[in-house]
Amino acid sequence: MRNTIVSLISIILGLVAGGILMLFIGSNPIEGYSYLLQGALKNLERIGNTLATATPLVFTGLSVAFAFRTGLFNIGASGQMLVGGLAATAVALTFDLSRPILLLVMVLAGLVAGALWAFIPGLLKAKFNVHEVVSTIMMNWIAYWTIYYIVPGYFKGEFLETESKKLAETDTLRAPFLTEMFDGSYINLGLFLAVIAVIIIAFIIDKTTLGFELKAVGFNRFAAEYAGMKVNRNIILSMLISGALAGVGGVALYTGNASSIQIGILPAQGYDGIAVALLGANHPVGVFFAAVLFGILYSGTGFMNAMTEIPPELANTIIAIIIYFAATSVMIERLLNKFKARKSNKEDKSGPVVEKGDS
């Protein structure tokens, strides 16, 4: 509840700051934001696209949030997405399976690839105490270059030099019933996977002994060790789960929203995941809504640009400012506390008087 309020206030402050920027360049913020919303939600197709945009963010947000909750900072979601996407693409391009089985194998391949990519930082952290921030950054670049050479080397499209061969429509997460329901938008089965992931992760964190252990290790590995938990195994496990989430995010992005994997790009969703996790207060359900908000911002911005003179870069600026406010949520909490204190001061105005009478 508290976190929700803080997140909401950050969003509002970010939007206000963005509005000021719009005024600054001579545009009307109200008009701007209304076009932004229309762009994201005006019709079914747009809603579908917004949800599709949000889907990979749910995964990366969960990935970062889960790691956070267990005391780890996974900056490597981008790389994990890449290898996850690559694995799924490779499966789709290599095996000739019936659609349900193929999709299942693709998702599993992405999951395993992402997990393995995160396994290395996890292992280094557990065994050698290498800080995961650095190792995951390194793993991002290693993924970047691996994709850069493997895709053209083994999965090259006929005339495409910077991306893999396109997947057949039936080999992607796109489902005709969804596409039709949302008027030809890009929404795909990834969204369902995302919802399932949210539920599973929330469940693991709050309700299971596994979550209990992982969090304990995250907070105090010495106490966890003392209590008989396998600290190293838990750190690695935590990274594996976090990486698996990002890996499936890659599957959703490259075989759902897109139908090929591109080289030369570290997917921005990996870094956005940090912001999403933060805004969602590291809670799975919060992450989901934060991802949808980001989906709205990212997907509505084009229409806003088209209808007004507000440049595209502004949407990114607004998102960044929202995150800054979320990061400084302590300030917001303090303000809330002050507000509350003032209120309660007013309420028990009579308090000190009674005390005086008492003594």
Binding site: K207, T208, T209, L210, G211, F212, E213, K215, A216, F219, N220, F222, A223, A224, E225, Y226, A227, G228, M229, K230
Partner: protein, 507 residues
């Protein structure tokens, strides 16, 4: 009558609690003034106010008769007030000199004048008999020496009023004697001292007067010479406290723990425990006496599984456990009250409820098929908190970090005893606790013994070891010096053995 410091009617509130309520403390020039109170009574807070770390809501502070506003520690320093905190404030990888000059560094041009400072420290150290090497790194010196560095820090700043917050909690008996001597030296040089301690013996030994606070309220100030330990204790907790540990004769049964030729490496990768053998039986408390750093940590960690042993064996009821993981050892009935409650004992950011099931969250009824049963955890925790009188703001939902150290300790002990272990390893179980709590915890440990369990007690406080134990094993330099029957020995004998003077006696 000239007072160097007068704290009059101090009131300090924290959210939801009045830590100091109308407390008055006056310090005469050249006296040692003890400040006594239960855990959480508000002693540290009161001294924090004097040292400028907290601003009181009400009340007056006078230094040398003049009213002052101590807005931060710098102001306190300038007024000649210095404080040694309960937890040392020393930068581990700095040298002694660097730590002492930090904040008031002598310069030669732009450069730090380390040599000059070191010389001055050397002089001060000699003058007060502190015996500190100015060039040693803090991480390399003993806790006792670290404390003397803290004292030097105040002297270097020419403090006239010295506040020592529980200085003896972490010291060995010898170091405590040393400290008492140093304090008397300081008084001779005209300094005045306020000392917080839970040990009444120490108050009797050095203090001139003693101010007692209970639950934030000042109870009064007495001349120590006119008070007895018992009367001080009663003032402090508001009821009679028994110092004598009442216990029946022990009736040792089967061997629970058998340690055979155990050797363990320490953090510096050399053998910290050498060829150590010991048995602990059902229904007895075996105490380990020894100066800190003589293999106790290595011993405990090797038994509990936190550290790998080099050679030798550890048997529980005749079964080898030396290669078992920690959890399996726990399941064999070992439980452990750790030395460092913040590092090992608690997940400070977890609620008490979670902390109370830290080892057994995965057992029935707290979990089933990998799912947590929160209500079961809660009622289990509530039971411990009630039994052991753990005071906290929000009961089982309190975050462990928010508890005072004493209450944290009680919670840990409650948790471990609730497991009803065959072997309880209690390391410094009462460190930093007030006498009331100590009495209670001692009682519970003896009860545990009387139920036919084995207890291995490791304590740096000789008194505690002597009172609680049935048998005492003395360690020195990682080796077993000898074993004595608690009933047949005294402080002197054990003290000698701790210093390495061997003595063979069969029991």
């Amino acid at each position: 009558m000239s007072y160097v410091v007068e704290m009059l009617n101090i009131r300090k509130e924290f959210p939801g609690i009045v830590a100091n309520d109308n407390v008055t403390l006056t310090l005469k020039k050249g006296e040692i003034h003890a400040l006594l109170g239960e855990n959480g009574a508000g002693k540290s807070t009161l001294m924090g106010v004097l040292f400028g770390m907290y601003q009181p809501e009400r009340g007056l502070i006078k230094v040398d008769g003049k009213e002052v506003k101590i807005t931060n520690p710098n102001v306190a320093n300038r007024l000649g007030i210095g404080m040694v905190h309960q937890h040392f404030k020393l930068v581990e990888n700095f040298t002694v000199t660097e730590n002492i000059i930090l904040g008031s560094e002598p310069l030669k041009g732009m450069v730090l004048d380390i040599d000059k400072a070191a010389k001055r420290i050397e002089e001060l150290s000699k003058h007060y008999g502190l015996n500190v090497d100015p060039h040693a790194k803090i991480e390399d010196i003993s806790v006792g020496m670290q404390q003397r560095v803290e004292i030097l820090k105040m002297l270097y700043r020419e403090a006239e009023v010295l506040i020592l917050d529980e200085p003896t909690a972490v010291l060995t008996p010898a170091e405590i004697d040393e400290l008492m001597k140093i304090m008397r030296n300081l008084i001779k040089e005209g300094k005045s001292i306020i000392i917080i301690t839970h040990k009444l013996k120490e108050i009797k030994a050095v203090a001139d007067r003693c101010t007692v606070i209970r639950r934030g309220k000042g109870i009064g100030t007495v001349n120590v010479a006119e008070a007895s330990e018992a009367s001080l204790a009663e003032m402090m907790v508001g009821r009679h406290v028994s110092f004598k540990v009442d216990k029946k004769e022990s009736t040792p049964g089967e061997v629970v723990l058998k340690i055979d030729s155990l050797s363990v490496k320490n953090n510096r990768k050399v053998l910290g425990l050498k060829d150590f053998s010991l048995e602990v039986r059902e229904g007895e408390i075996v105490g380990i006496a020894g100066v800190e750093g003589n293999g106790q940590t290595e011993l405990v960690e090797a038994i509990t599984g936190l550290r790998k042993a080099e050679s030798g064996s550890v048997l529980i009821y005749g079964e080898e456990i030396i290669d078992l993981p920690i959890r399996q050892r726990n399941e064999k009935g070992i439980s452990h009250i750790p030395e460092d409650r913040h590092k090992r004992g608690l997940v400070l950011d977890y609620t008490l409820q979670s902390n109370m099931v830290l080892q057994i969250y995965n057992k029935k009824p707290f979990s089933k098929n990998g799912l947590l049963n929160v209500p079961a955890m809660k009622s289990y925790a509530q039971n411990i908190l009630t039994n052991f009188d753990v005071r906290s703001g929000e009961g089982t939902a309190s975050i462990a970090r928010t508890l005072s150290g004493g209450n944290q300790q009680k919670a840990i002990i409650g948790r471990e005893l609730e497991l009803d272990p065959k072997l309880l390893i209690a390391v410094q179980p009462t460190r930093g606790l007030d006498v009331g709590s100590i009495e209670y915890i001692h009682k519970r440990i003896i009860e545990h013994r009387d139920k036919g369990n084995a207890v291995l007690l490791i304590s740096l406080e000789l008194d505690e070891v002597l009172q609680l134990s049935d048998r005492i094993a003395i360690v020195n330099n990682g080796e077993l010096v000898g074993e004595v029957n608690a009933a047949e020995t005294d402080e002197n004998e054990v003290g000698l053995m701790m210093a390495g003077v061997g003595k063979e006696r069969s029991i």
